[in-house]
Symmetry: C2
Subunit: 404 residues, 2 copies
């Protein structure tokens, strides 16, 4: 599999754009994005499990329940959530876009991200839609990636090339993450496009199977957003025989999808609000996958472990503590923990108790930007990985006064 340029525009027939329409006061920050497919695409999406759901999610769910979509519009700066007229505004966004593009309103995926509970005005969006259409380009992925950013500090995009039945296919995605990141059966905003031909049913199957090991294993702050959504559009323009069942082609597609999603997960975790480090917790030797996942996610979510990583402090007792309260059934006396990074690997705990180790070497390892926390449970063959970030002064700063 080859990593290529182009993000959501890498796949044949997709163009994108991002502009400043005026939702945000800062005129240098794009605040609305569009992704468009020449042809109607099969579509699948997963949504937040938060009972408080953004109005755009309700509208999108209705629009793609037939399995098709052609365009995605997403604004930042306002989540359009907990507003009395939220549904109305989200529907209006779809209608105005459909009119502009000459497509059906129920082929529009609509999304919003930003502050909860502040009414979203339609005026800047109505003004922005013609600008978005005019700016549509096969080079537009980076602009679209910027338009959906909130406190993100880097644009998150990727694309890969893969082969299905001898045909070259492409799949690419953009994402926004940063804060309120603790997805549950869905996630942040992630938009993925592919020119592979795949039925709506198999696309939904691929997506829901993938996210269980990818986006649902990421946490920045334990807060599950009201507006999480991952959407995939597949327009079939690569010309492969449509994937309609499991088999070799579906596996090739799943593998490509997973490459895109794992890359975006790592980017979202590394760019968590205030983060200075990406944390990856690998759990192996678990009795079953559920145990491995529970343990990995508990470690990644521990405020104390996250703060220790910020301080490059090999305080492995906090890792054990997080395993102990995770709810997973583990034998504490068999747990092993090591820290690993570009600077090396060091064992700090064996059989549930500390081992002698060089604090100096541990410090050197933990001063790197990407840290792996390796946990072994010595109870079976199952494993899992979770992604997170350190807890820093800047997380507090960013969130102490987010609205102003």
């Amino acid at each position: 599999m080859k990593i290529i340029n182009g993000g959501v525009c890498a796949a044949k027939g997709f163009t994108a754009s991002g502009v400043h329409c005026g939702i945000r006061k800062n005129r240098t920050k794009r605040d609305i994005s569009l992704i468009y497919s020449e042809k109607v695409a099969t579509a699948a999406a997963v949504y937040t499990t938060n009972l408080v759901k953004g109005a755009p999610l309700t509208v999108t769910r209705e629009h793609i329940k037939n399995g098709y979509a052609q365009a995605i519009i997403c604004n930042s700066g306002n989540a359009n959530t907990c507003n009395a007229n939220g549904i109305e505004i989200a529907e209006k966004m779809s209608e105005l876009l459909a009119l502009e593009l000459g497509i059906k309103a129920d082929d529009v995926v609509v999304a919003s991200t930003g502050v909860i509970g502040q009414p979203l005005n339609i005026e800047p969006i109505a003004a922005g839609i013609p600008m978005l259409r005019a700016a549509l380009s096969s080079d537009g992925s980076a602009d679209a990636a910027e338009g959906i950013m909130t406190t993100d500090t880097v644009k998150k995009e990727i694309a890969v090339e893969f082969t299905v039945g001898g045909k070259v296919c492409k799949i690419g995605g953009i994402a926004k993450g940063s804060g309120m990141i603790h997805p549950n059966m869905a996630t942040m905003l992630v938009f993925i496009t592919t020119d592979a031909a795949i039925s709506a049913e198999m696309l939904a199957k691929a997506l829901s199977s993938d996210i269980a090991d990818t986006f649902n294993m990421v946490s920045v702050d334990g807060d599950t957003s009201t507006n999480d959504m991952v959407t995939v559009l597949a327009n079939g323009m690569a010309g492969n025989a449509e994937i309609v069942a499991e088999g070799e082609d579906f596996s090739a597609f799943m593998k490509a999808l997973n490459t895109v999603t794992v890359y975006l997960c790592r980017m979202i975790a590394a760019d968590g609000e205030g983060a200075t480090k990406l944390l990856e917790c690998h759990v192996s030797g678990a009795a079953d996958t559920k145990t491995a996942k529970t343990v990995a996610k508990s470690v990644i979510c521990s405020s104390l472990t996250k703060a220790a990583m910020f301080g490059a402090d090999a305080n492995w007792g906090r890792v054990l503590c997080a395993i102990g309260y995770s709810g997973a059934d583990v034998d504490v006396s068999r747990i092993g923990v090591s820290f690993k990074s570009a600077a090396g690997e060091i064992e700090v705990c064996r059989n549930g108790a500390g081992v002698d180790f060089s604090e100096e070497k541990a410090k050197e390892i933990l001063l790197e930007k990407e840290i792996e926390i390796l946990v072994t449970l010595d109870a079976g063959e199952a494993s899992a990985t979770a992604w997170g970030c350190d807890l820093t002064y800047d997380y507090v700063k960013i969130n102490g006064d987010y609205r102003t």
Copy 2:
């Protein structure tokens, strides 16, 4: 009920002490404490649910399974957890203390708090025990409260006077909290003494019933410690007829116990690591108590809500978000939220959507040191309260390099 001085020494027959024995390098900080009852007392305790359990908990559980104890020894600076010889050390602490005091080793409650996974040397403890005995005094509660502190910034003690069957009884407690505070069926370290006569069975009943609404409703950082423990000793020296069943006397005892525990909960939350504010979330109008508790605790645990409170930002959308992902079954469209403090009260959300409010007034309210977050669910009569604190730069600072 009257609040009185004396902490754990307020009740008749109890003395206490706290000294520096050398576990900590800082010679000005007391690091070991003793609470002693002239007479053998009925005893009850609850412990952390973390699978990783401090060795002292295992030893204490064994010692008080007969329902009796006479002394409590507790060191700070080292949790004696995840150490290969942990049990041995905890037993040795009990034996040395029993020898010094001329009591039975299995009448000793032993506890430790501090870093996990560093071997605990018996030498400083062995040297400290005679000093502890020599320092025992009816004025010793404050010293004992200091000896169990880790990153706590204030000593936590209280005592109250109440009447059982015409006899004046006293109950008092000390606590340490600060970090790794998210008790589950047990809590931080809390030692309570009373001279009321109450059977071991009724004492255990009183304690386990009380903590469900008190310590289990506190969270500083979502990390459930490995060493949480609440212990009550009741030596019967007040001379009341022993409480052996439910009824008026038991109710009076429960009320006094609750006054002590709620006071300590508030102190622990307000003195959470790095905290500048005490947060109290009151949920009312819930369909049942479980729902009310789940919602209250979810709000108190939300990193984003905690950071907003630090910034005195009335970002109520984060409160709704935390309610939505709590797992409780609530009707979002009926939720109301207000903020309250000494500076007044302001409604910010009604029927799940924002209401117009003065940002200036909200700021004024949220700049106070004690903030109440009032949530109404409009679904029934049940209510609950949870206690927490804001998330600040100092939490990160304290935990970025705790061990050095």
